[in-house]
């Protein structure tokens, strides 16, 4: 038998072998129940290389991302455990990373997290003991068998470490800050990136050109959100920073008699258009997980 390079996860292997990878996002339920998770995950069987588990996304209180990731492993899926620094201080961050490793989690996505005031508990005390770059640095430190103050660990964890970048920043300063931070994240151990959702292929291609010019060579998964309606498009344009839905797509959603079919078409077109310049796609279905398969069937 050939001696093969060992990978921490399927996602790592796919990206290393330059196969187009697909990750899909699911949000844990607001309640003590696992049915919803298994149903959403069921639609992704055989399609997603990794199931991305959001971590109190938009600062809305829900079931935890670590437990949800562990459940997915139990059911035979590969999770991408999202970890924000909004709700955990450095003790908890390190502790949960160790727990995650023991639970079988290998893919970890480091994010800072939305501010508390946009969520359903705006009164909460935001933690932010660290930022996402420091979270990557923390993972690296644990991987070397040490905690953040230099104490030895009895056993080293190992992670396939991801981070997020926004290719659609709307001003020169915001754009440059994204590039600067992306470089810092790579320096602190980020091995793959997923982007904020894009609707405009040109914006994304321009961003990828910039990365090439900067000689930034890490796998980037293009972020795709399923556009469910005209209202959703308008809402995102108004309230979701860094996301821009062009008029022609809004019009398409307005005129269609079959929203799901149009949504599938838009997402598949987008992926097909940018497929050659990125390593994979990261799809946020927001409850429409059942439509991901038909989308991927249309992706060439």
């Amino acid at each position: 038998m050939n001696k093969q390079k060992t990978y921490l996860s399927t996602l790592e292997q796919k990206l290393a072998e330059k196969e187009f990878a697909v990750t899909c996002e699911i949000g844990p339920p607001k309640g003590a129940d696992k049915e919803e998770i298994s149903e959403a995950a069921g639609f992704l069987k055989g399609i997603a290389d990794g199931i991305n588990v959001t971590d109190l996304q938009s600062s809305v209180m829900r079931m935890g991302s670590l437990t949800t990731s562990a459940l997915l492993i139990e059911w035979g899926y590969e999770p991408v455990f999202q970890m924000t620094t909004r709700d955990r201080n450095r003790l908890m961050i390190q502790s949960e990373l160790l727990s995650a490793y023991v639970a079988g989690v290998r893919n970890v996505l480091a994010i800072t997290g939305d501010y508390t005031n946009i969520g359903d508990h705006p009164q909460a005390k935001p933690v932010y003991d660290m930022d996402s770059v420091q979270l990557l640095w923390t993972m690296q430190t644990l991987e070397q068998g040490k905690d953040l103050v230099g104490n030895d660990l009895t056993h080293k964890p190992a992670f396939y470490k991801g981070a997020v970048v926004n290719p659609g920043a709307d001003t020169e300063a915001a754009y440059e800050l994204q590039i600067l931070k992306m470089k810092k994240k790579i320096e602190m151990g980020a091995q793959f990136f997923q982007t904020q959702a894009i609707f405009d292929a040109e914006t994304f291609k321009k961003f990828m050109d910039r990365l090439e010019k900067e000689k930034i060579d890490v796998p980037v998964l293009v972020g795709i959100i399923l556009l469910k309606s005209k209202g959703m498009a308008k809402y995102m344009n108004k309230f979701v920073p860094g996301v821009f839905v062009p008029d022609n797509l809004i019009e398409k959603m307005e005129k269609t008699d079959d929203k799901a079919a149009t949504c599938i078409e838009i997402a598949a077109d987008l992926i097909n258009e940018v497929k050659s310049c990125c390593a994979g796609a990261h799809i946020q279905a927001l409850g429409w997980e059942k439509h991901i398969k038909p989308i991927m069937d249309l992706v060439q």
Binding site: D114, Y115, D129, M130, Q134, A173, A174, L180, M188, P241
Partner: protein
């Protein structure tokens, strides 16, 4: 009175790094009272830096560095000394370093850590804000405090939440990291943003009981008699 503590000389030397020509600026307000500033301290620092191979292009004490107009007028006759410097070392609280960073086009290194305000937030009310973190990093962030200008208190760059350069938490508020970017761009020091900053030490944000209770010492007759 705003209470500051001196940064260790080794830390200052490390921060000055490869910069060789330094202009020293001190606040004649609170740091005089806290004995972390004043002419004697500034002159001592000059001597120390010279011993360590730096060249000091000039020294000035300004009554209240938190007043930008005052900095401008006092520094006008000293322009050549500042121009000859690679960077400026500032003996003041965070507000003073922020004000100096806005007025000058050099990196301003804080020589002090701001420990507690004792109820006072600078002599002049400007847009500068300090959170008395006790480990000032203003020289890495263009003189704009990431703890008071970014609600997430990010140390290593912006989040992706801003829209039209305004903060995700409040559309009326400038994104602190955009301000940091712009000021560093203005002085040609964007490369400072490549430096990784470790999480801050929160112990330093807890001033000791002695510091907490000493807010009126400058006016306190009993204390003055001691």
């Amino acid at each position: 009175m705003i209470l500051t503590e001196s940064k260790p000389v080794e830390e200052i030397v490390e921060k000055l790094g490869k910069e060789k020509n330094i202009f020293i600026m001190g606040c004649g307000g609170c740091p005089e009272g806290a004995e972390t500033g004043g002419k004697k301290v500034l002159n001592e620092m000059k001597k120390t830096l010279e011993q360590k191979g730096f060249s000091v292009t000039g020294i000035i004490e300004i009554d209240f560095i938190c007043q930008k107009a005052l900095i401008r007028s006092r520094l006008k006759p000293r322009t050549s000394e500042i121009e000859a410097a690679d960077s400026v070392l500032v003996f003041s609280c965070g507000l003073g370093v922020q004000a100096a960073s806005e007025v000058l086009d050099k990196v301003c290194h804080p020589a002090l850590n701001t420990m507690t305000f004792g109820g006072i937030t600078g002599m002049w009310h400007g847009k500068e804000r300090c959170d008395t973190c006790g480990s000032c990093i203003l020289d890495l962030t263009g003189g704009i405090c990431p703890y008071t200008n970014c609600p997430k208190m990010l140390e290593n760059g912006a989040c992706a939440g801003q829209s039209d350069d305004k903060c995700e938490t409040d559309p009326d508020r400038d994104c602190g990291w955009v301000l940091i970017y712009k000021n560093l761009k203005r002085i040609g020091k964007l490369d400072l943003l490549e430096q990784f900053i470790e999480p801050r030490d929160y112990r330093k944000a807890l001033p000791t009981e002695k510091l907490r209770n000493s807010r009126l010492w400058a006016y306190d007759e009993e204390a003055a008699d001691e």
